[in-house]
Point group: C2
Chain length 371, copies 2
């Protein structure tokens, strides 16, 4: 006997990204004007650094505006992106009486927005959330695409879900309080976007990288918008990452593995920077990119304050092993995305932008770019 | 500066429920015929009881059929529905090399299907899964609706997600190997469905309850299909539980709390049975149901082998406190769903089937039905 469950529906996950400076009062007025419906109970999720700088005052402003807001603070750093920290947030929220009628306001960088978005997605089987991105990395990485996740000892970003925020705020003013190293780290994703989708943006970066590092208004807004635009155009065409979306993984096969192997001594963007160099070097050998363009890429990354060599404390054999935890792995074979010169990516067959890479191919490149 | 992300899409989560006896080979042939696309790597998730009875042979059949299938076993029992057990499954799967190109086959009762569905939903940000339901409870509870979740020390079913299976198999033959107590437990959800949506089904149950307990073919298939039908009609009208879907919570405010307070000495259905009596008794006082119909309900539950009194080892004050972890709580006030005589529910305002209940109202009822 068969019983058919027909479940076809239209889902509207559209949302706005607001790019500007000092957007705290805009956030509060949006919430007052019903951005999250009638929800009054707000969990402001942040980290130990951002708490003092922005999240504390945002929580106070929300309380002032009549919301029942409480702040939940995780330790700053990539090591907080774990299932244990998600449990900590859940238990703290439950203990404070938060239920499925609450909403989440994430205030911080990529770790906070990733963790808060995932937590919101499974709390009470899903409550709405907004992202207030305080870092360039979050602006580049966490504003478009709806990817949320945590890391586990065995793999980064493999446990998570697609969950779209109700709105994203990119506060460029916050970048001023970022340690220089953090700002550089965020620029890695920006450079990646230029590499895979916009040669003009790449040239612009080559010219204005110093001004960006100084938080000059115009170039910062330019890259914030370009980041959203490029990522959006890719994600729109392939929301669930079956094909095209994989190109956003440029530099990430090696990058993620290096990040883990460094035990997070390297920041995400720093690891991605080395990963970008690795795919470019291998791509040069395979004829996908000229030596000259590889040089331009390495120079830009260096000028952005990013490392372009595998640190000496990382063992190549261990790194090679870690590559297999990449989510692009198919039938236990490594697959890489490659840029095609600058501003485009290689397509290997219909809807396929990943090329199988043998362990020896990538091992040779990694040996060459090891410190 | 504003950037708009337009994300409107049509989602088709339709699937079939197959009701019958000995459906193992149907499962295997469906998978061979591409039910889950080209996915070859299958995680068979089961528990320590079902492993020996069905999951082991299903895994062997899948391997035989050319799949790369591995079995992951959780301890049998409600206590396994935790975040820790989800982590255990994730880590075991990652260790065995499972990645986002895998799929999950849940073989077992409600605990297994809830946990496996949730695990599949966040593994690699979501891989497909099928449910092979071996218990009446799973047939009644886990086949329609897409609800998956785990329990935490502070709340049951509050961490989870909506995740639809690709297909559900309800194998009535498996009910034969259920301990009598488990079968009775499953009948509580069946009685609940009759109470809230089908008076004829209620009468049928009054007449055939003994045959069902003996696993007679016709009445078992009847209730399996009725369960799906009633739940489907409710869920279809309200997939995200904003209003109507709450009626499926009939008996669950008290039920869930009793289940937790008993530290799982009571099975889910046993606790729900007492919860059904509690809402009926309170409903009688409020004029929603006649004394006679309350009597019919209590007799039917008893004949199904279910408890209708709060066990003596449960402290009422503790139970009252636990009620507030219910997900229907709004603005810190208890809300109950009530049946309207037999076969219907009370509607209190537009799209609202929950009535605020004061702590003293429900306390008085619980005192009366305490052992």
């Amino acid at each position: 006997m068969e019983f058919r469950c027909e479940l076809v529906r239209t889902v509207d996950d559209s949302y706005d990204i607001e790019i500007g400076r000092k957007l705290e009062s805009k956030l509060v007025s949006d919430l007052k004007n019903g951005l999250l419906g009638k929800r009054k109970r707000l969990a402001v999720i942040t980290d130990s650094n951002v708490k003092e700088l922005y999240a504390g005052s945002i929580t106070a402003m929300l309380t002032e505006a009549g919301f029942s807001a409480e702040m939940f603070v995780i330790p700053a750093g990539e090591k907080s992106k774990t299932r244990e920290m998600k449990e900590f947030l859940e238990d703290s929220m439950l203990e404070k009486g938060f239920r499925r009628d609450c909403a989440v306001v994430a205030v911080g960088g990529g770790v906070v927005t990733d963790l808060a978005g995932f937590t919101a997605g499974t709390f009470g089987r899903g409550v709405p959330f907004v992202n207030y991105a305080t870092t360039l990395l979050a602006a580049a990485d966490a504003s478009v695409g709806g990817k949320t996740a945590v890391d586990t000892p065995l793999a980064t970003n493999l446990i998570g879900m697609f969950n779209q925020p109700k709105k994203v705020y990119i506060d460029i003013e916050c970048w001023k309080t970022l340690p220089k190293r953090e700002l550089s780290s965020g620029l890695a994703e920006t450079v990646k976007h230029a590499c895979l989708g916009d040669e003009e943006m790449f040239s612009y970066l080559e010219e204005h990288i110093a001004e960006i590092l100084e938080n000059k208004a115009e170039p910062c807004e330019y890259i914030a918008e370009k980041n959203c635009g490029i990522k959006y155009s890719v994600v729109m065409k392939d929301e669930r990452e079956s094909g095209l979306r994989e190109i956003l993984n440029l530099g990430h096969t090696v990058g993620r593995a290096i990040e883990t192997c460094s035990d997070y001594r390297l920041l995400h963007g720093e690891a991605v920077s080395i990963g970008l160099v690795a795919q470019a070097r291998l791509g040069q050998e395979l004829g996908f990119i000229s030596k000259e363009n590889v040089g331009r890429l390495e120079r830009l990354l260096q000028n952005a304050g990013l490392p372009i060599r595998v640190p000496g404390y990382i063992q190549i054999p261990e790194l090679l092993k870690k590559l297999y935890t990449d989510k692009k792995v198919r039938d236990s074979r490594l697959r890489f995305v490659f840029q095609k010169e600058i501003g485009d990516v290689m397509q290997f067959s219909e809807n396929n932008y990943g090329r199988p890479v043998s362990e020896s191919e990538i091992a040779a490149v990694l040996e060459k770019i090891a410190e």
